[in-house]
Subunit: 273 residues, 2 copies
Amino acid sequence: MTTQELVAQIHKKQSFLCIGLDTDLEKIPAFLLEEEDSIFEFNKAIIDATHDLCVAYKPNIAFYEAYGVQGWSALRKTIKYLNKNYPEIFTIADAKRGDIGNTSTRYAKAFFEDLNFDSITIAPYMGKDSVEPFLQFKDKHTILLALTSNEGAFDFQTKKIDNKELYKEVLSVSTTYKGSENLMYVVGATKAEYLKEIREIVPNSFLLVPGVGAQGGSLVDVCEYGMTKDIGLLINSSRGIIYASDQEDFADTAREKAKELQEAMKKELDKLN
Amino acid sequence: MTTQELVAQIHKKQSFLCIGLDTDLEKIPAFLLEEEDSIFEFNKAIIDATHDLCVAYKPNIAFYEAYGVQGWSALRKTIKYLNKNYPEIFTIADAKRGDIGNTSTRYAKAFFEDLNFDSITIAPYMGKDSVEPFLQFKDKHTILLALTSNEGAFDFQTKKIDNKELYKEVLSVSTTYKGSENLMYVVGATKAEYLKEIREIVPNSFLLVPGVGAQGGSLVDVCEYGMTKDIGLLINSSRGIIYASDQEDFADTAREKAKELQEAMKKELDKLN
């Protein structure tokens, strides 16, 4: 998917919501456990109930890997279902991978070609030759971890290199990578005020923002500091939507929660006009 | 496996060799492609031919993930084969994972419990709460990326925070994590002279050293600067051993290459006496 197609979808749906499919057999409604593929059936119900309110889905790969071959099969069915029934949706493999060149190429092929995701999250620690292999795929996007929304972000990401925090160094250096036009960035919303400085380094890139809601970030602040003329934001919510109810009405309840966020996003989009 | 058991195995085999199972269908002998599970059959042949010369095997998970459900099945068969037939061998899931707390717990369960690996490689970028979940498993080991052997290591790892390179900050900070006694570290051998300073920060930890051979590191230098009284080193070789021949004799040739490294390691171990 091209960035232009993503932007067009945002305008059409009046939403820049990404829903995280962190599907956990211990948290999904108990009656679904009787299904042959409970993980996929849960995802399918969530997707069918919310697809017109969001522009992206983001399965966190750890949740699928935890169930081994069965989990991978459910992941494959989920991405195939999305690509077949809702091809306009932007798909994110939240994998946080990163390895040396030939190995990164393996991961890129697995997620971009075999599973046909539009994008993947990548950790920056191993540098240039661990990231560039992902950037060589046309109309595929690499979402680099810059500033994450967890407590451990302060261990290294915010420490200063030559008076500049590591996450800013990651942003700066990555813009010099070959294929950097295919980069997006993870920026945790618990530090919305950081977005102003981040926009000085990457004025136009899309930012994937976790942590709005459950982790304390404010949608209004994030939009004030982070939104560009082409939106440039994907706001992720996972548990707040998909686990809003663990009863028979879970999909309807997920839709209600997604609708609340979409309506708040519409207000922010209206401010652009 | 306890660290003491690993050290005992090193003394018994006079080897601290780790063999990387980066199994690639484009590189394994063509006649194996006729097998139903070519990846597993290749691994099995390599393991049977080399198990008495090495103390660890390290499948790089990317190579398995690239083949989807089929790859995960081959990985599962490989680790089960190792645990059943050669339970003394230390097993490393080279996964380079790292995510927020509850997600890291998922990965830990997948690799430590479901697949029963002895250890896993982890990226440090997300900090404390992304690493600590792995450290809570008894007799399981977490191998943190500190200084990698690829070109991109210079992008961030060697940049200075308060006059100290980032990789040294990773070493220092990680020693304060809960369960840090279960930490080992990846340290690329292309910078053997760095090992002296690394040993000042982590005097006793095991270091997993890639890059000896193909990537230019010298075994003698690595041992001079990095070896402890309890050895404290695992030297990895992947392609130099497993792809030394692509003919019918591939397993025998792998054994010859492993034997060369084991004999060089014996000389280094003799220096301890």
